[in-house]
Chain length 139, copies 2
DNA sequence: GTGGTCTGGTTACTATTGGAAACCAGTTTG
DNA sequence: CAAACTGGTTTCCAATAGTAACCAGACCAC
């Protein structure tokens, strides 16, 4: 059941049948998966080209095997990447973006770039906020 | 302490000092917040213009007061949005994107648009995957 | 003046998830 | 036989997410 709510005050007017604001909309399912820093990092990393499990693990410092495994499985289920097992010895498993995954990643890259570029401003904002909060608590 | 690791096989060559792949990089902090479907939805919603607490709550079906409150606070701390309390009666609290938040949201919108546009393909992929998994389990 | 509604939250409590570390299985190397 | 590579799964605990209830101030109806 797809929702078709189109808010009257939506200046974008771009909805085409799916509405992420509705909790019954399947687009939320994607968002649930994207709402995951690891997924964003993995997609972005695979934009560099296909990559094997342990290579990804080493690339993305801080991710655990379990989580990497889980997220890769999710992304594969979503059709965003493919998992290719090559029966070499030891077995090698290569992950690569599908065309759909590549399209999505095109939208993800600017986001990560922005995050990298704007870190100083954000850290400054956090600092200012914390100072203000501390002052409010003190006074 | 900012990491400067620039993988040799990075075909983008776009890093400018921050590296989201490193767990010691502050850019991860942003990603931690973006890695949150609610944050993405809220930012996208505020792109439509300033909005009050309960308006957002009604817009984004499924979000609870607690989570909305938490995420708004986080985004405010990051300097992505402002919280303006107007001492009317009852008190009204308006949330609006900062310039920085608006910039980020520009990058978020294509993502949500893509999610909406590509739902059929993703649902199809999920279905195919599940069928394949079930068959593998049966056989 | 008592109850209900609006505003915008906070506070329990619980279910789900996230993450660190251990373990598994196959093969090669020492 | 042990170690290390491959790519995971399992176990356990802590953190988080979500549900529902409660709070506080001011308005309105009665």
């Amino acid at each position: 059941m797809v929702t078709n709510r189109k808010p009257a005050d939506n200046p974008f007017g771009e909805e085409q049948g799916f509405d992420v604001y509705s909790d019954s909309c399947p687009a939320r399912l994607v968002l649930d998966h994207l709402g995951d820093k690891w997924a964003l990092l993995i997609l972005h990393r695979l934009a560099f080209g296909p990559r094997r499990f342990n290579a990804l693990r080493r690339d993305i410092s801080g991710i655990s095997q379990k989580v990497l495994s889980q997220v890769l499985k999710r992304l594969e289920r979503d059709g965003l990447l493919t998992r290719t097992v090559t029966p070499t010895v030891p077995v090698t498993v290569e992950y690569a973006l599908t065309q759909m995954g590549a399209q999505l990643t095109e939208r993800v890259c600017p986001l990560l770039r922005w995050a990298e570029d704007n870190m100083p401003a954000i850290l400054g904002a956090q600092d200012a906020y914390d100072v203000k909060q501390a002052a409010a608590g003190t006074g």
